[in-house]
């Protein structure tokens, strides 16, 4: 997740990371990680607290004034839970697409590339 501020909106944080900020903590599927102070009353997330609690690296490119929040490592595995993430991707026409639009159907998601 690219950040131009260390207090992104909760919705943007959830969208990018798959972790939803709630009063009880940072949650994904049935997992909630307590993160006191991470969710602000203004609907923003303290990225530094969230990074520390979820084991996410937070890198800063000082020259360009941006940060990148990396993947969570708290589970020690690539998958923190079996709940499928639902990032917004695009189709061939550039139209947004979410895997959640296929709920009710089995999905085999296959990654490929042109290189």
């Amino acid at each position: 997740m690219i950040l131009t501020t260390l207090r992104p909106s909760a919705s943007a944080f959830a969208e990018a990371t798959g972790w939803e900020p709630k009063p009880e903590g940072l949650c994904r599927g049935e997992i909630c990680v307590p993160a006191p102070g991470s969710l602000g009353s203004d609907g923003t997330v303290d990225a530094q607290i969230a990074a520390e609690r979820l084991g996410m690296p937070l890198l800063h490119d000082e020259q360009h004034g941006i940060w990148a929040l990396g993947a969570a490592t708290m589970s020690g595995h690539e998958l923190a839970s079996a709940t499928a993430a639902d990032p917004e991707l695009m189709d061939r026409a550039g139209t947004p697409f979410r895997l959640s639009s296929l709920r009710g159907r089995k999905v085999v998601l296959v990654a490929w590339s042109t290189y």
């Binding site: 941006i66 499928a84 990654a111 042109t114």
Partner: protein, 222 residues
């Protein structure tokens, strides 16, 4: 079936998607976020998602058809590096028949398929994620963002660091390499990704250093 291309430039994918004429959703992941979120570190890889949005298989090699490259004779007269590339590709294990059969079994039998794993097992079977792997993801994303906002030179240092931190992530490497090894007038991305002046690594030397074609993929544990 849903396919997702881990390609920074969506226009690179168009000729391939158009040629395939897919009847399934053909998606493009310009930020490689599916690598972080699903564990894709090479291609082709896949995860299976059930009707409730729960993963029933971890990310693993996802060939469903044996590549003809595996069975072809290596042409004579090629340069040494190209010949060795063929050898390494032919050494990549093939489980396409078993994997295709497993998909069909799950499609027919759903949760009762022996190939559908419990949530805990899916997580357990996913690859370890070290701190360096996560940092590499952040580095790659910074590089991708800077490529588009500040130019290629701004991306390179972050991508070099991503490669150093996570040498087993082939999408980070190959995406970066191809942007420097593809000729400006090429009609498609360069697949050989040979030695270049920008990055220390290249496909052949890195594959050999990592144990050869036999170690190139995470094979499905069926």
């Amino acid at each position: 079936m849903v396919t997702v291309a881990l390609d920074i430039f969506p226009e690179h994918t168009h000729q391939w998607i158009d040629a395939a004429k897919p009847t399934h959703p053909s998606l493009i992941d310009t930020r490689h976020v599916t690598g972080q979120l699903f564990g894709f570190r090479n291609i082709p890889m896949a995860v299976w998602i059930d009707e409730n949005g729960v993963l029933v298989r971890p990310p693993e090699q996802a060939s469903v058809e044996r590549s003809p490259l595996r069975d072809m004779e290596i042409p004579e007269g090629l340069d040494a590096r190209t010949t060795e590339m063929f050898r390494q590709v032919k050494a990549i294990p093939d489980s396409s028949e078993e994997y295709r059969a497993a998909i069909i079994d799950w499609a027919r039998n759903g949760a009762s398929s022996r190939f559908a794993l419990s949530p805990d097992e899916v997580v357990r079977r996913s690859q370890p994620r070290a701190d360096n792997d996560a940092r590499a993801a952040a580095c790659f994303e910074l590089g991708q963002h800077l490529l588009l906002t500040a130019g290629h030179d701004a991306a390179v240092p972050w991508w070099r660091e991503a490669h150093r931190l996570f040498p087993d992530n082939w999408t980070y490497k190959r995406q970066a390499w191809t942007l420097v090894t593809t000729a400006p007038d090429a009609e498609a991305n360069d697949l050989q990704q040979g030695p270049n002046d920008v990055y220390e690594g290249n496909w052949l030397d890195d594959v050999v250093a990592s144990g050869g074609g036999a170690k190139y993929y995470i094979p499905p544990s069926l």
